[in-house]
C-alpha cells in the first residue's frame, strides 16, 4: 500500500506477513508457555520486562531490530497524579513494531496512564519513553503528532461538522498553520476514509452518525495523520457488540494491510486475547506479563491480573476466558 515508506525514515519494514505471525505465536506458545513463567515477580519485572518479554514477543520484533526508528518503548516509568499514590511504579516495556499490542488489566491498574505517558499526554515523574531511540520529552508536540496518532476514549465534535472535515483535521500536523489543504492532504484524507469505510458518509454531519460510524470517523482522523504508530484508548467503549467487533476487526485490518503498529487499551479480556499479537498485563502499576496471548495468559495469569479465578479455554485457534 502506498501508505508505506512515506515518512522521514520513521518507518520500520512492514510487519511479518499476516499469516506468519500467528503461526509463530502458535509455535512458540506450547513450547515456551510452561517454561517462561508468565508471572514475573514485581521486582524482576522492572528489569525483566524489556529483555525477557521481548524474547517471547516473537520473531516479528526481533527481526526488525530493537532500536528500529518508530519503535516505542517505556523505560522504568514512575508516575503519580498530583502527589497522590503512585499509579505506575517502574514500568518498562517495549511495543513490538508492526504488531497489535493490547494493554490490559483491572480497573485502575494504570493502563490508560501508561498510554498517556507514552503519548505525551502526561509527563513521567521518572523514567522515559523512547520513540525510535529518542526520549519523547525532547520531541515537539507537532513532530510527535506526525509519528504517533491517538484515538482517545472520549471524543466530541460539533453535530454539524462533516465527517470529511473532521478527518481533515488529521492533516494539521503536516500543514503549515491555517494553510489551505494541499493535494496530498486530500489524498490522505480520502485514503483514511476509505480504509475505515466512511467514504460513503463523508458529507454526513457527525451528529447523524451511529456510535460505530463515529468511532470510525475518529479513527480515520488519526489515520490521516499518516503515522506508523496508532494508539487507541478503549476503542470499543460505549459501543454495542456488533460495533465492538467491527472496530476490532478494522483495527486488525489496519495493522495487517497497512503495517501500522497498534497499541490499544482494552477492558474486555477476550477481545484483548482474540485481536492482539501481544498483550501487556498490568497490575498495581507494574508490568505483570508481556508477550503473545498464548504464551503468557492462562488462568493463573488472569487471576493475578484481575484477582478473580476464571477458567481459560482454548481450542486449536481461539483462546477465551469465561467471565462468569
Amino acid at each position: 500500500m502506498a501508505a508505506e515508506g512515506i515518512m522521514d525514515g520513521a518507518i520500520t519494514s512492514p510487519r511479518v506477513a499476516p499469516a506468519v505471525a500467528p503461526a509463530i505465536a502458535l509455535a512458540i506458545a506450547p513450547a515456551v508457555a510452561p517454561a517462561v513463567a508468565p508471572r514475573v515477580a514485581p521486582a524482576e519485572s522492572q528489569a525483566g520486562c524489556a529483555a525477557g518479554a521481548s524474547g517471547a514477543a516473537g520473531g516479528a520484533a526481533a527481526e526488525h531490530g530493537g532500536a528500529a526508528d518508530g519503535a516505542i518503548a517505556a523505560e522504568n516509568l514512575c508516575f503519580a497524579y498530583g502527589g497522590g499514590a503512585p499509579v505506575l511504579s517502574g514500568v518498562s516495556c517495549r511495543i513490538a513494531p508492526g504488531a497489535v499490542t493490547a494493554l490490559m488489566g483491572a480497573n485502575a491498574c494504570g493502563k490508560t496512564t501508561l498510554m498517556r505517558l507514552m503519548t505525551k499526554g502526561l509527563r513521567p515523574d521518572s523514567g522515559r519513553v523512547l520513540l525510535g531511540g529518542r526520549d519523547i520529552a525532547g520531541i515537539g508536540l507537532r513532530d510527535f503528532a506526525r509519528r504517533a496518532a491517538i484515538v482517545h476514549q472520549k471524543n466530541t465534535a460539533p453535530d454539524d461538522l462533516s465527517v470529511k472535515r473532521l478527518v481533515g483535521y488529521g492533516r494539521i500536523p503536516h500543514a503549515p498553520p491555517f494553510s489551505p489543504p494541499s493535494k496530498r492532504d486530500g489524498e490522505r484524507v480520502a485514503w483514511a476514509m476509505s480504509a475505515t469505510g466512511v467514504s460513503d458518509i463523508a458529507d454526513r454531519p457527525m451528529g447523524a452518525l451511529s456510535g460505530g460510524q463515529r468511532q470510525r470517523a475518529f479513527i480515520a482522523m488519526a489515520l490521516a495523520q499518516e503515522t506508523k504508530l496508532l494508539f487507541l484508548d478503549e476503542p470499543t467503549a460505549y459501543l454495542d457488540v456488533r460495533y465492538q467487533v467491527e472496530i476490532l476487526r478494522l483495527i486488525r485490518e489496519l495493522n495487517r494491510s497497512h503495517g501500522i503498529t497498534i497499541v490499544k487499551v482494552l477492558h474486555d479480556i477476550n477481545q484483548a486475547l482474540a485481536y492482539s499479537d501481544e498483550v501487556i498485563g498490568l497490575r498495581g502499576g507494574r508490568v505483570l506479563v508481556q508477550g503473545p496471548p498464548r504464551g503468557v495468559i492462562d488462568s493463573r495469569a488472569i487471576q493475578e491480573l484481575f484477582r478473580i479465578r476464571l477458567e481459560v479455554k482454548t481450542d486449536g485457534r481461539h483462546m477465551w476466558v469465561l467471565p462468569v
Partner: protein
Amino acid sequence: MTTGAKPKPAARGVAACLAAAALCAAAALLAIRTGTIAVAWGDLLRGLFVEYDPAVAAIYDLRFPRILVALLAGAEISVSGLLLQAALRNPLADPGIIGVSGGAALVAAAVAAFFPALYFSVPLLAFAGGMLAFLLIYALSWKGGLDPVRIVLVGVAASAAFAGLSSAIAGAGGGTGVSLSVSGLSQRTWGDVRLLAAYAAAGLVPAFCLPPACNLMALEDDAVRGLGVSANALRAAISAVAVLLVSSATAVVGVVGFLALIVPHAARRLVGSDHRVLTPFAAILGALVLLVADTVGRRVAAPYEVPASVVMSVAGGPFFIFLLRRGDRVGR
C-alpha cells in the same frame, strides 16, 4: 433533531451575513429617525451634506455616535462571548457571567474616579482588569481540568464582588453626579466612537483570524494535543482576544448583560457551528441586537430612556429560556 443539521455550504454563510448586515443598515436608518427631534429624510441629507441645520447638527452629534457605539460594542461583546464559549468549551461562558466584564468595569470605574486624566487609556486599563479577573477566575476554577459548572459558580461569585466594589468606588468618587457603573449608550460622543473603533479593530481583526482555532477547540483537549497543537496555548490566545474585546466595550458602554450569551447561541442556530461563518455573523448580529435594544429603549418610554442593558435583560431573559426550551444542544 440532529439529523436535520446538514453541513452548510459557504454560500449560505455569506448570504446570512449579508442579510444580517442589511437588517443592521435598516435598523441604523430607523435609529437615526428615532427621537425627540424629528427631521425628514430630505432635510437630513441636506443638513448633513449641503448646509448647516441646527436640528441635523444635533442629530449628527448625538445620535450618530450613539448608533455607531452601539454597533461597535454589540459586535465586540457578542464576538467576545462566542470566543469565550469556544475557548472554555462552555455554553455558559458569558464574559458577564464569569466576571470578566465585572473586572473590566471595576478598573474602568476606578480609573475614571481617581485618574480621570487617563480617559483614552481606560479601555486598555479595563483590558488589564478584565484579564486579571479572567486569570483569577480561571485559576480558582482549575482543578485538574476546567469544570463548566465550577467556572460559572466562581465567576458569579467574583462578578458579585466586582460589582460591589464598583458601586463602592462610585459612592466614594461621588459628587460628579454621573454614576460610574452606568451601563448605557446615552451621551456618547464622536470621541467615544473613535476610541471604541480603535479598540474594536484591535480586537475584531485577530478575532476574524481565529476561526480555525475555535473550530479545533470544539474537539477535546486530548484530541487537540494529539494533532500536535497545544490546547492550552489556543485557549490562552482565544481568551485574550475575547477579554480585550469585552473590556474595551465595557469601558465605554458598561456591562451589558445577556448579549454575549444569547447572540452566539442564536447565531449558531442560524448558521451552524463553523466559526468561519459564525464569527462574522455573530459580530453583525450582535451589532444589530444592541442597536435595536438601544433604539427600543429610547422609544418605548419616551421622553425617558430605558438603558439598552435593561432592554437586553428584559427581552433577552425570556428569549434565552425559549432557546433552552427548544431543547437543542447548542455549544455542546
